[in-house]
């Protein structure tokens, strides 16, 4: 079944901020959203790790915590490779997506951030979505937010809000950090005037 994936402004910018906080490393995170028919709407995200090869313990922990909080709203995984020219699928991310499929008993989606499209004057969608087709992941259609959103995103990046983002690994180093980024989300909505 061919899904369409729409990523709302808030999780979209959080994903980009996660990539920008660690520009030299791969990132992996979870996607929260809703499925309706053949459309998947991503309404939130939880940044997990800033390495291309995240190991089982933090992933299992984070998945159980996030699944306990969001239940069936856990729809997939996002990732970005460390090297901009590398457009391959991260095997650790795909394995995590498969695991989420089995935990939530429904097919999950995979989103990749295309590093080469991160330039401010690029007007393409920076995210590419994939869904499972048999044993392989096939690219699927994404619904792009448009140039208004890109303007808001640029404002957020200028203010260097990525420094306030905390992922699950930051939380494990210092449990005071909130890896759900509630206060950052409020700031993002304010600064970029996203309609949440």
């Amino acid at each position: 079944m061919k899904h369409q994936v729409e990523t709302q402004a808030l999780p979209y910018s959080t994903i980009i901020l996660h990539c920008l906080k660690y520009p030299a490393k791969g990132v992996v995170g979870l996607l929260i959203g809703a499925k309706k028919g053949d459309k998947v709407t991503v309404t939130g995200c939880v940044p997990l790790c800033h390495e291309s090869t995240p190991l089982a313990p933090p992933l299992e922990l984070a998945t159980s915590l996030v699944h306990a909080k969001f239940g069936a709203s856990l729809v997939g995984v996002y990732f970005s490779n460390a090297m901009p020219s590398d457009n391959s699928l991260n095997t650790y991310a795909t394995r995590l997506a498969d695991r989420i499929s089995s935990v939530t008993s429904s097919p999950s989606i995979l989103i990749q951030v295309m590093n080469e499209r991160l330039m401010s004057d690029c007007d393409q969608d920076r995210l590419v979505a994939y869904e499972k087709d048999g044993d392989n992941w096939k690219e699927t259609k994404t619904i792009f937010q448009g140039s208004n959103f890109l303007r808001g995103l640029q404002a957020v990046i200028q203010k260097k809000l990525y420094r306030e983002l905390a992922d699950f690994e930051n939380h494990l180093d210092n449990p005071d950090s909130d890896f759900y980024n509630t206060s950052l989300s409020n700031k993002l909505v304010q600064v970029a005037e996203f309609r949440a």
Binding site: P23, T53, P58, K69, L172, P175, D176
Partner: protein
């Protein structure tokens, strides 16, 4: 809230740069900010520290695609140390950043010939392979390097990362075992080794993982990841073990780990982390599930 690096005092800036230099942490954008807004206003006040700071800023500049800043630093260093190999290494790193890999390679080979005992030039040759995405060749090169410089934990760590990228968790774990042999009191290495063994899976590996986590907690009681590691490994052993007494022991240990974690989370105020209550509830729920087994 996050520090605004452009507004800190000169002394704070100097201390921060020194701390980051010694820890070896990669915060290049912030280093460039601190340099441009604070320290470069009065570089002579650094005294002799200026040269190491320039080196640090140069590398940070290359890391943040600020080739102009890096060139500036290299020029200043070249004036002060005209025949230095260390400055030549920075020039070669600049060539790497601008993708002139062949020229950089030639410089490193010359430097290795001149000074075979300096391991940093050999490591840069490996870095060129990594930048070009030639992982298998990089693995071979690091193996050759490690035959000469056996006690370099950084090289073993890098090799471990490369094996993980090649999906070979077993070999990555062997590399990390070497790191642990070199620095047995580094709790991060032990914890990472525990993670790798847990990821490998299988009853023996999970028990090994548990042993590593327990040792990590012993030498670093504040490490949250190792506590979680003990919880996860004991939980897995309790669920999959066939031996009833082992199951019971593991269950008890898991519950104890949860108690330690709950203690830790209770000390966090909800103002700092509004989600800490949610995590506490989750842990309590886990406790009841494990306790009921």
């Amino acid at each position: 809230m996050e520090t605004d690096w452009t507004q800190i005092s000169y002394d704070d800036a100097r201390q921060t740069l020194k701390k980051w230099r010694e820890c070896g942490v990669r915060r290049s954008e912030e280093v460039v900010e601190i340099w441009e807004h604070v320290v470069s206003r009065s570089p002579s006040s650094l005294g002799d520290e200026l040269w190491v700071v320039l080196e640090q800023v140069c590398i940070a500049g290359l890391d943040t695609a600020r080739v102009d800043l890096a060139q500036d630093c290299i020029d200043q260093l070249h004036v002060q140390f005209p025949k230095s190999n260390r400055v030549l290494k920075l020039k070669a790193m600049q060539l790497e950043a601008t993708e002139h890999y062949q020229k950089a390679q030639e410089i490193y080979e010359r430097l290795v010939e001149e000074d075979p005992n300096n391991n940093s030039f050999r490591k840069r040759k490996v870095a060129i392979l990594l930048a070009q995405g030639k992982r298998l060749e990089a693995i071979r090169a690091i193996n050759e390097y490690l035959k000469i410089f056996l006690n370099d934990p950084e090289a073993w760590l890098q090799l471990s990362e490369l094996f993980l990228l090649e999906n070979d968790v077993a070999k990555a774990a062997h590399c990390l075992e070497e790191c642990v042999l070199i620095s047995p009191l580094n709790s991060m290495y032990l914890r990472r080794l525990g993670d790798l063994r847990y990821t490998q899976g299988g009853a023996e590996n999970v028990e090994l993982a548990r042993a590593y986590y327990e040792r990590a907690v012993k030498i670093n009681p504040t490490d949250l990841r190792s506590q979680y590691g003990i919880l996860l490994s004991n939980n897995l052993i309790a669920t999959t073990s066939k031996n009833a007494s082992e199951k019971k022991k593991a269950g008890v240990a898991a519950v104890e780990a949860i108690d330690n974690l709950v203690n830790r989370y209770q000390k966090i105020s909800t103002k700092k982390n509004p989600e800490s209550d949610g995590i506490l509830n989750c842990l309590e729920a886990m406790k009841t599930t494990i306790g009921s087994k």
